[in-house]
């Protein structure tokens, strides 16, 4: 150590200058109505910098008429390592192409490990994961069960995978962004 460092006071003052500088800079940002913090005010704020491939929240894709694309085959529920997906299948004789549909489709987010295997298992591209995380903070365990309605409330218009009824010209699916 040089005598300058050993005199202690000057280096201490330099350190205080650094931390005080950060304080003044952040206070100036707050006072000019900008954000002076790196942290996010969860859950009121969502981070804008989730990675494109972040496995955040599940969504169920829809056919153009708004019905879920899911055919209740239970493949996702089977492969799910945490066994969080519950599907109750129902029969619809009116719809010749897809007579089987989910009457109930629920995901228990208290156990979900966000591995994305359900997405890979799905033969119909009916379940996907978007990068935003689900807004789940709750006082009650039951609030962590997301049902069909909630899984369908996203903006599917730009992301309909298949035309309905299914035709020969299939476009590759666009990633939900």
């Amino acid at each position: 150590m040089t005598w300058w460092e050993r005199a202690y006071l000057f280096e201490i003052l330099r350190g205080l200058g650094i931390t005080g500088g950060v304080f003044v800079r952040n206070m100036w940002r707050w006072m000019t109505l900008r954000k002076g913090a790196l942290t996010t005010y969860y859950p009121e704020e969502t981070r804008s910098d989730y990675a494109l491939r972040n496995r955040g929240k599940h969504v169920l894709t829809q056919r153009p008429d708004g019905r879920p694309q899911c055919i209740a085959c239970n493949l996702c529920a089977t492969i799910c390592p945490a066994k969080v997906i519950e599907i109750e299948a129902a029969f619809d004789p009116e719809d010749a192409a897809h007579p089987k549909y989910p009457a109930r489709f629920e995901i228990d987010y208290s156990r979900c490990i966000f591995c994305g295997l359900c997405v890979e298992a799905c033969p119909e591209d009916a379940i996907r994961m978007v990068k935003e995380v689900p807004n789940l903070p709750t006082h009650d365990r039951s609030g962590l069960w997301l049902s069909l309605d909630e899984l369908l409330t996203w903006n599917p218009q730009s992301d309909v995978a298949k035309p309905y009824p299914p035709g020969p010209e299939r476009k590759p699916a666009q990633r939900a962004s």
Partner: protein, 382 residues
């Protein structure tokens, strides 16, 4: 005199209110300042809901202090199986009370002339006559000595707490607190001696009044400019005296759990914390009085501003009193903020380093400062 009683009761009420408010607000300031210093937002979840409405008052998390207090009150008051119940029970009070008492000798404003303030009420003004009161609760000749006497009492509280807890960690914390506080108390006293030599008095009121002049034509005649080294040493010793980081060896969470108040819980522990925060304000007030000119603004006298160009701005008596009190509070707040800055910037000492720092580094410096000051004062006076 009944008039004196009225005035001094008002002073005491003001002092107690100021200290308690400082103690509460400083917990918030500490949280928020630490957060802003480290790019965070800080505590802002506690709120008070206006009854029967959905309006939540958050006020930047100002109510966290209130929530803390409530939590302390409602927690279980755990009592260890100790051999000395009495000492265990009074220890927090022995720490807390002297801290409040120190403020009695600190001048928090200039001179109050009640008759001039109450000119609108002739009968009240006549009742007060031509009495004048310096804004200082106790105008003692022994001002600074009283500060150090009461400061020394808190050591006893810390030692009592540690001894009576029947816990090895508390014991170690108390031993550390004892040796640390005694060492740094000495240095505090030595650094202040230089100022006493210059001002020729230990009465804080006289010291504050002596700093109202102007030095070299433009500098305010504050103690800081007469005794810069003493100011730095005093601040360091005062932080050590208050046992805060970087000198928080008596508590040292990573080594001693909570040091001498390990066995305390609920409001008893709250008293220790509250005493610490009030002591921040007390140190701020002492530093302001000794080194930052107390309630004086540069170029301001009891009748208004006299700017260097000979320009005079006259102010009424009431305005001057209020301005001086506000200036004092603002300076205290700045010094408190500086202490919090130090607390969140520097790492903790090792214990041998702490004592070596006191006795081998600060003690000689304080002595040298005193000698140089004494010689300089002697040279100027002869």
């Amino acid at each position: 005199m009944i008039q004196d009683l009225v005035i001094y009761l008002l002073y005491i009420g003001y002092a107690v209110a100021v200290l308690l408010v400082f103690g509460t607000v400083l917990t918030w300031v500490e949280r928020k300042q630490a957060a802003v210093m480290s790019d965070r937002i800080g505590a802002n979840r506690a709120y008070v809901r206006i009854p029967f409405t959905k309006v939540r008052l958050i006020w930047l998390g100002l109510f966290h202090g209130l929530a803390d207090g409530l939590k302390m009150m409602l927690k279980e008051d755990f009592r260890p199986k100790t051999y000395d119940r009495f000492a265990y029970a009074i220890a927090p009070w022995v720490v807390f009370t002297p801290v409040l008492l120190v403020f009695a000798v600190i001048p928090f404003g200039g001179t109050l002339v009640p008759a001039e303030l109450l000119r609108a009420l002739p009968s009240a003004a006549a009742w007060f006559g031509d009495r004048t009161y310096p804004l200082q609760i106790a105008r003692l000749d022994a001002g600074l000595l009283v500060v150090f006497a009461f400061g020394g009492l808190t050591i006893i509280g810390a030692m009592l707490a540690g001894w009576s807890s029947a816990n090895k960690f508390s014991m170690l914390g108390a031993l550390r607190a004892g040796s640390q506080m005694i060492s740094y108390e000495l240095i505090m006293g030595l650094t202040v001696l230089g100022l006493i030599v210059i001002y020729g008095s230990v009465d804080l009121g006289i010291i504050a009044r002596a700093q109202s002049g102007v030095l070299l034509g433009f500098l305010p005649a504050w103690g800081l400019f007469y005794q810069p080294l003493a100011a730095v040493l005093f601040m360091t010793a005062a932080i050590a005296e208050n046992k805060r980081i970087p000198f928080d060896l008596p508590e040292a969470e990573s080594e001693l759990i909570a040091g001498y108040f390990t066995e305390y819980s609920a409001m008893k522990m709250g008293l220790f914390m509250f005493a610490e925060f009030i002591e921040i304000a007390i140190i701020g007030a002492l530093f302001t009085t000794l080194f930052l000119g107390g309630y004086n603004l540069p170029f301001m006298a009891d009748d208004g501003f006299t700017l260097p160009g000979g320009h005079v701005v006259a102010l009424g008596h009431g305005t001057v009193v209020v301005v001086q009190m506000l200036v004092f509070l603002a300076k205290v707040m700045l010094v408190c903020s500086f202490q919090i800055l130090v607390r969140w910037s520097l790492p903790r000492f090792r214990y041998d380093q702490l004592l070596k720092f006191a006795w081998k580094f600060m003690f000689p410096l304080a002595l040298a400062n005193l000698v140089v000051t004494a010689i300089a004062v002697w040279a100027v006076r002869t």
